[in-house]
């Protein structure tokens, strides 16, 4: 694998039916860039699908006039996936743990939790409309 890889950026329309294609594209690229097969197939796919769904539904509120920007940066040791929507953002610190007994039977609220479990590091911008997920390469 090249130390200095291809950097890809996707402009994704605000539509849930393109999430799969976007995830496919990024997962293949990450696999080619040295992410382990299991991490590319599972950790990255799940985390990116959740981040995209949140960006489309909560961030852009399904407004077809808005888009979601995805950017993947590969360095020798890390893969960083940025997902930015055009919404108002939110405060991730206010999202409760969905695995505590009182919340276990809630229908929603597992997306962000799964992302945090599946990638090595999660960061947000101050406004809260851009998430950055870091995965260690093979």
């Amino acid at each position: 694998m090249a130390e200095r890889g291809i950097e890809i950026a996707l402009r994704v329309p605000t539509a849930l039916d393109v999430v799969e294609e976007a995830v496919d594209l990024v997962a293949r690229h990450c696999l080619a860039s040295g992410l382990t097969p299991r991490a590319a197939r599972f950790n990255l796919r799940v985390a990116l699908a959740e981040a995209l769904a949140n960006a489309i539904i909560y961030g852009n509120r399904l407004d077809p006039g808005k888009t979601v920007d995805v950017r993947v940066v590969v360095t020798p040791s890390l893969l960083t996936v940025h997902v930015a929507d055009q919404g108002d953002g939110f405060d991730p610190a206010l999202v409760p743990d969905p695995t505590i007994p009182e919340r276990l039977e809630e229908e929603d609220g597992r997306g962000l939790f799964l992302i945090r479990q599946l990638v090595d590091e999660v960061r947000f911008n101050d406004r809260g409309n851009a998430i950055c997920m870091v995965l260690r390469r093979a």
Binding site: L16, A53, T99, L104, G111
Partner: protein, 111 residues
């Protein structure tokens, strides 16, 4: 992204998830199970043998359907999860909430 439905002779409605269970189709699954419930069914098995992916919305749909069936004196069970899908249930601790069979046959036999 579709669901198959069959009634097992042992009195269990088996719903197969073909492809994915995600935010875009979870309502369809909810509708299918609700219809079965309205028709008097109380035992539902969701079969993930042909499922590639479940997102957090899909997990949530299963949680709410499970509660609904339990409230009606029934039960929702799961089977056929591959390693990745099983990991999703473990990470979210939903493996403690569901009766999960390795295979459909095993789940049916013990229902």
């Amino acid at each position: 992204m579709s669901f198959t439905l069959r009634k097992d002779p042992r009195g269990v409605v088996v719903i197969g998830v073909d492809g994915q269970l995600i935010v875009g189709n979870r309502h369809e699954l909810k509708q299918k199970v609700t219809e079965a419930l309205d028709a008097g069914e109380r035992k539902v098995l969701v079969d993930f043998t042909n499922t590639g992916y479940i997102d957090s919305s899909g997990l949530g749909a299963l949680v709410s359907l499970s509660k609904k069936l339990r409230d009606a004196g029934g039960e929702l069970r799961l089977a056929g999860l591959n390693e990745d899908l099983r990991t999703l249930f473990e990470l979210t601790k939903l493996d403690t909430l569901f009766n999960i069979g390795d295979t459909t046959e095993q789940a049916l036999a013990s229902f």
